[in-house]
């Protein structure tokens, strides 16, 4: 173990966060929580309309993406993260898109294209 035993008085600053920001953060967490609850109700309510599948999928994924973005940006503090984390996530997103696009390489009947 290293000896960086840093139990200083300025605890928040030691952990890389501005202590004055914590109270502001807490207020944001509450707002995000309310927004997530509202969006959950919206997701369920929309599904009751029995929209055509392509529309229903698009709307459901759009709402889920907004909810996911709120969790990632505010609860996971991605909105104020360092460039390296963004680079890691950008690379992940690129591979993720390729992964999800793989089914589009199939025929309509679900079999792989053979040469």
């Amino acid at each position: 173990m290293t000896s960086d035993h840093a139990a200083t008085s300025d605890h928040a600053a030691d952990t890389g966060h501005d202590p004055a920001d914590i109270d502001k953060h807490v207020r944001v967490y509450i707002i995000v929580f309310v927004a997530l609850m509202v969006l959950t109700v919206v997701t369920v309510a929309i599904s009751r309309f029995h929209l055509p599948v392509p529309v229903a999928v698009s709307v459901a994924l759009l709402v889920a993406t907004v909810k996911g973005a709120l969790v990632a940006c505010y609860f996971m503090h991605l909105i104020s993260e360092k460039k390296l984390i963004y680079a890691v996530l950008a690379l992940t997103a690129a591979f993720f898109v390729v992964l999800l696009a793989l089914p589009s390489l199939t025929h309509n009947n679900g079999y792989w294209i053979h040469g």
Binding site: H17, H25, K83, L84, V88
Partner: protein, 196 residues
């Protein structure tokens, strides 16, 4: 072997090593769930017909579980914020609530699974149920894993707070990142499996 542990911010990355480590781990998790989502898309689009989730699964129960998991994400981040404010007692309350909410989620899933198994709906019954059990089962394992780590920080691991509050806060922040990720995965699982 003595493995060095440091929360010092590196000059080259602007981050501490633990933060990079947990995000790289989460990136691998995105690919794990991504592979299963891709399989789901492939199987669903290739099927001649596919049932709407709400005709087979219990939407009110899953909605309740969504609310439970989102609430646990809030209590988790509040646990971290409590440590930042040096309020250890408040941290224990929020962390305890996070663990309990995780437990509620698992208990609800238990009732959901029991119901399906009781009426003869197994993973082998059809592709929809195979996908349902695989995705929700893997997610449940993640909830359980997160609960174990959080319980450690609530209980025996919390002794570190006395010795080194900065390290402890750092560890709780990283376990929180995992917990929020688990919440994030459910946010996508819920509509894709239950509502579409």
């Amino acid at each position: 072997m003595d493995i060095p542990y440091t929360v010092a911010v590196r000059r080259d990355t602007g981050l501490n090593n633990g933060k990079i480590g947990i995000w790289l781990f989460l990136a691998s998790e995105v690919m794990l769930f991504g592979a299963l989502f891709a399989s789901y898309i492939l199987i669903r689009t290739g099927a001649p017909s596919w049932p709407r989730g709400d005709t087979i699964l219990d939407v009110p129960l899953a909605t309740f579980n969504t609310i439970v998991l989102i609430s646990s994400s809030v209590t988790m981040v509040m646990a971290w914020a409590s440590l930042m404010r040096r309020r250890f007692g408040t941290f224990r309350i929020y962390m305890g609530a996070t663990i309990l909410l995780g437990l509620v989620f698992l208990v609800v899933k238990y009732f959901e699974y029991s119901h399906h198994l009781h009426i003869g709906e197994y993973p082998s019954t059809n592709n929809f149920l195979a996908i349902y059990y695989t995705l929700t089962g893997l997610h449940m394992l993640h909830v359980f894993g997160g609960m174990v780590v959080n319980a450690y920080f609530w209980g025996p691991g919390s002794k570190l707070w006395e010795k080194n509050p900065v390290w402890f806060t750092n560890r709780v922040e990283h376990s929180g990142l995992f917990w929020h990720f688990v919440d994030l995965v459910w946010i996508f699982l819920f509509p894709t499996l239950y509502l579409l």
